[in-house]
């Protein structure tokens, strides 16, 4: 993984995490910049994004403002927000936030990929993020909420070792500890890692 943690000009982290896998090609998580606002709005508004993501900025201008406020949280290492880059295009987003370094806790969200035919790209993006959070930042547990009817995502998180800790009529609240994730992360990497290089 390639890491450069702070850019004084943009006041945001300049983290870039990249894996190359022959089954996908290069998949990158690049720290968001204000210039990504239009791409983020497009991704959030595509397909069922509005249905499954927490309501957020509806316009590019609102998204730019939100990204400026994010910069403060990012500077304090409370939040890391990435765009997912694949095939020279911005195809998705992923974010960890409410990071409590002393307790090792964080929340996971904004995970969305659009217009990518290769199904493994989404998995690679999640694995990169988990490596960043659990191994690089040394956090120990992730919380997240998934709509019950988003069955593929629910199944993915359960396969990853996440446990349902609370349930509402239409939402499942998950907890994934680093130790519970190890078996699944190793399983995916057995399939993906022989051809992966960390750049």
């Amino acid at each position: 993984m390639r890491l450069l943690l702070h850019n004084p000009e943009s006041n945001m982290s300049q983290v870039k995490l990249a894996w190359f896998c022959s089954k996908t090609g290069l998949v990158e998580l690049r720290a968001v910049e204000v210039e990504d606002a239009a791409s983020i709005v497009r991704i959030r508004n595509s397909g069922d994004g509005l249905r499954y993501l927490t309501p957020g900025a509806a316009t590019v201008e609102e998204q730019q403002k939100w990204l400026q406020s994010y910069a403060e949280r990012n500077k304090n290492n409370q939040e890391h927000y990435f765009v997912i880059r694949f095939g020279d295009a911005t195809v998705g987003t992923i974010r960890i936030y409410n990071i409590e370094a002393c307790d090792g806790k964080y929340e996971w969200g904004s995970w969305r990929i659009v217009d990518v035919k290769n199904p493994l790209v989404a998995v690679v993006s999640a694995l990169i993020m988990y490596d960043f959070a659990f191994d690089y930042l040394r956090l120990t547990s992730a919380s997240f909420v998934v709509a019950k009817d988003n069955m593929s995502v629910v199944a993915f998180h359960k396969n990853m070792g996440a446990k349902v800790v609370r349930e509402e009529s239409d939402q499942l609240y998950f907890l994934l500890t680093k130790s519970d994730s190890e078996i699944a992360r190793a399983r995916w990497k057995r399939s993906l890692l022989p051809e992966i290089s960390h750049t």
Binding site: I113, N118, L120, V123, S152, V153, F156, N159, S191
Partner: protein, 76 residues
């Protein structure tokens, strides 16, 4: 075919869907079996674990028949 049938249904039941009663070579993974991207990813890793076959070795697959061909080719 029967082992592939089991794997396909494992992925479906894993996400809370009922098993499909039978499969044919023409069945499309997304449109007919109802797999989304993450299901297809799970399917590929299960096939690799069971058959040692990388279904992405020369492009994406769309139907049961295409998976079968890749498995047969790898076995022969």
């Amino acid at each position: 075919m029967s082992e592939l049938y089991i794997i396909l249904n494992e992925v479906r039941t894993n996400k809370g869907q009922s098993s499909i009663p039978s499969i044919t070579r023409e069945l499309r993974l997304r449109e007919d079996i109802g797999f989304e991207s993450l299901d297809l990813a799970e399917l590929t890793v299960r096939i690799e674990e069971r058959f040692g076959v990388d279904v992405f070795s020369d492009g994406l697959v769309h139907t049961v028949g295409e998976i079968e061909e890749k498995i047969s080719r790898a076995k022969s």
